[in-house]
């Protein structure tokens, strides 16, 4: 399933043209801007047994799925990619403002999710029923959506399995370090408050 969230590269045409016999690919739209809104639309439109999301630019290599599926089959309810556990690699260096912003963000996120080293990797897979049940009442539309999702799963008392991934930053990222980063950090602070309450 491909979610078109305000793309300007003719996503609908590409998916329509690449229709394959083996894999059913569907494209659906999400007019509401934000990664959180788009992922939520995807989760709630799917009826799959296992589901997850990843960046369409293959920032995490697709082969990583071969590690994820056996874990889900084995009974893990949530398997997430991580760039900060043993065995992970960042294929390219990030610019300084993203490094500093990332450090700040992680410091805040750690308060909400003490056990998770990397909450923001765009590669997360879940048991379908679980994802659908938590996605329905999620509120964050921006990049901090990942934290909210994991927080809800942790609260249900379910373990989250982190696996190392090799990550490469895409060229066409629309993430603006200052604006989106600040908003995401503010969202996480709200989540931390909600936790305390």
């Amino acid at each position: 399933m491909v979610i078109d969230n305000g793309s300007v590269d003719q996503t609908v045409d590409l998916v329509t043209r690449m229709r394959s016999r083996c894999v059913a690919v569907r494209v659906i739209g999400c007019a509401h801007p934000g990664k959180g809104a788009a992922v939520r639309r995807g989760i709630l439109s799917s009826r799959a047994r296992f589901m997850g999301y990843m960046d369409a630019d293959l920032a995490t290599p697709i082969e990583t799925l071969d590690l994820v599926l056996p874990l889900l089959e084995a009974g893990y309810q949530a398997v997430v990619g991580s760039r900060r556990v043993g065995g992970a690699a960042l294929a390219e260096r990030q610019p300084i403002q993203r490094l500093v912003g990332g450090m700040l963000f992680r410091a805040v996120a750690r308060r909400v999710l003490p056990g998770i080293a990397d909450t923001q990797c765009g590669f997360k897979f879940f048991c379908g029923a679980l994802a659908r049940s938590v996605a329905g009442d999620m509120l964050i539309d921006g990049f901090a959506f990942d934290v909210e999702l994991l927080q809800k799963i942790t609260r249900l008392g379910l373990p989250i399995k982190e696996i190392p991934v090799v990550w490469s930053d895409g060229q066409g990222s629309t993430m603006r370090a200052l604006r989106d980063g600040a908003r995401a950090t503010a969202d996480v602070i709200r989540l931390a408050r909600r936790k305390a309450a």
Partner: protein
Amino acid sequence: MSVLEQFAGRRILFLNWRDLSHPDAGGAEAYADQIARRLAQAGARLTLFTSEHAEAAPHDWARGYLVVREGGRFGVYLAAARHLERYGRRYDAVVDCQNGIPFFAPVWAPADTAVACVVHHVHQSQFDMYFRWPVNVVGRLLEGRISRAVYRDRPLVAVSPSTRAEMRHQLGFRGVVHVVPNGIEALPRSDARRAPAPAIAVVTRLVPHKRLHLLLEAVPALLRRWPELRVDIAGTGPARADLVAAVAGLGLGQHVTLPGRISEQRKSDLLSRAWLTVVPSQAEGWGLTVLEANTLGTPALAYDVPGLRDSVRHGQTGWLVPGGHALAPALMNALDELSDPVRRRLIAEKSRRWAGRFSWDASAERLARVLLSEITRKRLGSPSRRRATDLATVASWPARGMDAIHARLRQVLRATDAISQSEDGLRVLLTGCDEAQAARALRRVPVPPSRLRLATTTQLLCGTGEDRFR
């Protein structure tokens, strides 16, 4: 009743830097003229405000509407501002045509006047080609940041989906952008038959960014395969001298001709005889030459760049070559495919049908819909309920019972949504919304649609939910 007819008696002002009588008039002037003429024919009291030039009177009615000419190439912007300040109240709607720099009509016109801004092409990179510092920087600012602030909540109109993508990408527009494509005027009938040997014809203005030297450089390789190949590059312009020199330099005088400016009849004959037209431009707002060739059943080969990727349907009405790739191998493949008479007939038929989808009547109607919805919005003082998104959704119903649904739909939909009916059923193109929003908008229709799908670029461009390309 068409929306155009609802403009009888309304007063409309078009702003364009040139008019059709200007010696350098081009595609943008044809667009303004064709649509203005149709509004005037529908009974609208239409004024076109434009710049003066030596060959024209300060005002005339030659085209069926009033043309007012004031100010020079830059002075026209000031003159238009003065005109709007003085007489802005008299107009129901203003169509502000941007040619790099818009007229900033929202600043000068009364706040409750409907203003729509038409963008043919994004000029950001061209300011450097034609102007030096600091004019280029000012130009970029006026087209980008300042336009963005001035037209923030006004409807914008792009002539193609790829122009719209550039407006989002390069100019950062966040508001509603409608698509109203160029129409096409029939070329004179031609009795010329398709040439027995491969022939390529290009009829266009010869300017550097059309990059026709790339075509010339590919010719030697093609001649090895087809020694009797003919190439005609008609038209005039600043790049012609260089092209003539390149033909001589490559020793192609036997095979390539540059006949210069030609008549419409000659153009028709040339394109009818050719197997193919080639457009190596680095970008276009829209590919008029592509569609002109298509009307005569001639396919086009072009680079996969903004504008042309909308007007050429790869594999059906021509071929798109990835940017940066060489032309010769692609041309070789295309001519190979066209050597098969059955394939050629099929491509010719598809090209004709594709061109048949565009008409100035349809374009005028679509611009009228944009204007009417903005006039209504201004009168009600309400913000649009749907967010600005380029997504559009096609809802379809089976043929059974569609008349009843059709009647109800007209009350539910907005002026800019399009209904089409065929033996397959009923389809509605809802612009500016995803499937979930479309479902919500259609709640008041007694029978829910049997299918909701995101619209493809072709559907957006043609302004219809029909997807089969007959």
